[in-house]
């Protein structure tokens, strides 16, 4: 009950401060243009002077190009949005004093923290699912018919990677007083993951592996990422647990 009170506030805030609208708009713009760009890039190149030679060697675009473009766009913008929209979630409330105003009441700190995580994660999930539905429609229109369940699972896998960054940034937002510090460390982790991901030894353990898995849902290439899935869930759980353990000991101004 108390969790829904806190979640209700977070959702209301997502709507009033247009967080949901921002996520949805960015995803729709970059998600829906993915099939269009995949389809029409060679056509656009043909229209440019002296590029006939290049255009002629570009293979006929396929559904897979559209999916690749989609995964690349959504994960890149998803990471940035996850960090930027989460960085102030706890630190800003502590800094402004709203945290002490509500936490002096019978609102457990765990509820305060987890409702933020759930609200943000759900905002990303809703936006991703809607974008996936749109991209599925466009891809079917422009390329061959694809399996909707593959688009759905791809959206969920991408959502999991984004959620890893939501959880990590929430932890840093709890740990640090300033938003830039929380964002800076989160970006640092993002860079670290991408550097480690370039090494084959680590690649299969990292959250980014889920995007490879997502693409493979369309090719049937047999590459899965169960270990990466477990690692991602582990990072989320560990980040939330650490955030709570830190937050429950913090004194509020």
């Amino acid at each position: 009950m108390i969790f829904f009170t806190s979640l209700r506030k977070e959702f209301l805030e997502s709507l009033r401060r247009e967080r949901l609208l921002i996520i949805l708009s960015v995803f729709l713009v970059f998600g829906l243009t993915s099939p269009l760009l995949a389809k029409y890039t060679p056509e656009i190149l043909k229209l440019l002077p002296e590029t006939e030679a290049i255009a002629s060697i570009i293979p006929e675009p396929t559904l897979l190009d559209s999916v690749n473009q989609f995964v690349k766009n959504i994960s890149q913008f998803g990471f940035f949005l996850a960090i930027l929209l989460t960085m102030g979630s706890v630190s800003q409330e502590k800094e402004k004093g709203t945290a002490s105003m509500v936490l002096v009441k019978p609102l457990p700190r765990s509820v305060f923290l987890f409702s933020k995580f759930i609200a943000l994660s759900l905002a990303f999930l809703i936006s991703l699912l809607l974008t996936a539905v749109g991209a599925f429609y466009y891809s079917n229109l422009l390329f061959t018919t694809s399996d909707f369940s593959a688009w759905l699972w791809m959206a969920i896998l991408l959502w999991l990677i984004i959620t890893v960054y939501v959880a990590l940034t929430l932890l840093f937002s709890t740990l640090f007083r300033s938003q830039p510090a929380a964002a800076g460390v989160s970006f640092g982790v993002m860079i670290l993951f991408s550097l480690l991901g370039s090494l084959p030894t680590f690649e299969k353990y990292l959250p980014d592996r889920l995007s490879t898995w997502a693409i493979n849902l369309f090719t049937g290439g047999g590459i899965s990422g169960w270990i990466a899935l477990l690692v991602s869930l582990g990072i989320i759980a560990l980040s939330l647990l650490s955030a709570w353990l830190i937050f429950r000991k913090q004194e509020l101004e």
Binding site: I2, V104, K105
Partner: protein
């Protein structure tokens, strides 16, 4: 039955003793004034008593609940910080509704209480406006309303009127004055006139240490240095000041101020002053138009006690 009780309550930040061995006893149903200069330890004490900070040592109870039991404590108290912060994107109604939901107040009761509180704090007409554009006075009144929504046994107010204009201050003080019917009010302030006006019992804190705690009138009786105020006719001004200035070096005289026909003599011994000064005036045949002992202000008591503490 005590509303607030602290036993050797201390809070240390590094080498700084923000609150040092504080022992307080606040009876129920009163307005308790917690006085001190800026940085004396008032806000830290309130943060300890509301569970927002943890004591380094000592213990305390609010409405019989130990402060370490934060969940149980939160049901019993209301808290208005010095600068209340709100979700700016909410309206006052929405904010109070959110707080009411946190206290698990039923929908019908919540609506009833919110409307009552908005009426009391005079924010009914602004109930559906975004908090973002609110003045300091409006925010303070909304802060008071949110602190009252759970009908707390003890209400903690940190400098509730310090940053307000005279009109806003008057409104908030009147609101607080009416609260003691149902609540115990624990109010910190550095504005002594406010405390003098509405508080029943006072404590003075300096550099984290309690200097004194007592009923307001007891303090006034116990700690005030008597001030004798005399006034003469304009034609006697010269003789009047000459006669009174002669007492300047007497050991029982602390200070003499003469402005025109009025003199204020701050003395250590009321009896000696009354006898000596009065007979001197009689001998010089000055016609007095006023001879009275002035009621000491809380400010003079405060300054004396703080001064003594610093001299220790």
């Amino acid at each position: 039955m005590l509303a607030v009780q602290t036993k050797s309550l201390s809070k240390q930040y590094g080498d700084v003793h923000a609150v040092n061995q504080l022992n307080l006893q606040v009876p129920r149903g009163i307005i308790f004034g917690f006085l001190g200069r800026n940085g004396a330890g008032k806000t830290t004490t309130i943060r300890l008593l509301t569970g927002l900070a943890k004591p380094s040592s000592g213990s305390a109870w609010v409405a019989d609940v130990p402060i370490r039991d934060h969940q149980a404590l939160s049901w019993k108290i209301g808290y208005l910080p010095e600068e209340p912060a709100f979700y700016q994107w909410m309206t006052p109604y929405e904010f109070l509704d959110h707080i009411g939901r946190i206290f698990r107040i039923s929908s019908k009761e919540r609506k009833h209480r919110i409307n009552d509180l908005l009426e009391i704090v005079n924010l009914k007409t602004a109930a559906k406006r975004r908090i973002k554009g609110f003045s300091r006075g409006m925010r303070q009144r909304l802060g008071l309303a949110q602190a009252l929504i759970n009908q707390p046994e003890v209400l903690f107010l940190d400098e509730p009127a310090s940053a307000l204009d005279p009109e806003g201050r008057r409104t908030v003080l009147n609101l607080i004055l009416n609260l003691k019917i149902k609540h115990t009010v624990f109010m910190s302030t550095h504005i002594l006139a406010d405390a003098e006006e509405i508080c029943d019992r006072l404590a003075i804190i300096d550099r984290g240490k309690l200097i004194v705690e007592d009923e307001k009138f007891e303090l006034q009786k116990r700690y005030s240095m008597p001030i004798l105020e005399l006034a003469c006719r304009p034609e006697d001004t010269g003789k009047f000041s000459e006669t009174l200035y002669a007492f300047r070096d007497k050991p029982w005289v602390i200070d003499i101020q003469i402005e025109g026909t009025v003199a204020k003599i701050h003395v250590a011994s009321k009896e000696t002053a009354q006898e000596t000064i009065f007979s001197a005036i009689l001998q010089t045949q000055i016609s007095l138009v006023r001879f009275e002992w002035v009621k000491p202000t809380l400010e003079s008591i405060f300054l004396n006690l703080i001064g003594e503490n610093h001299n220790k």
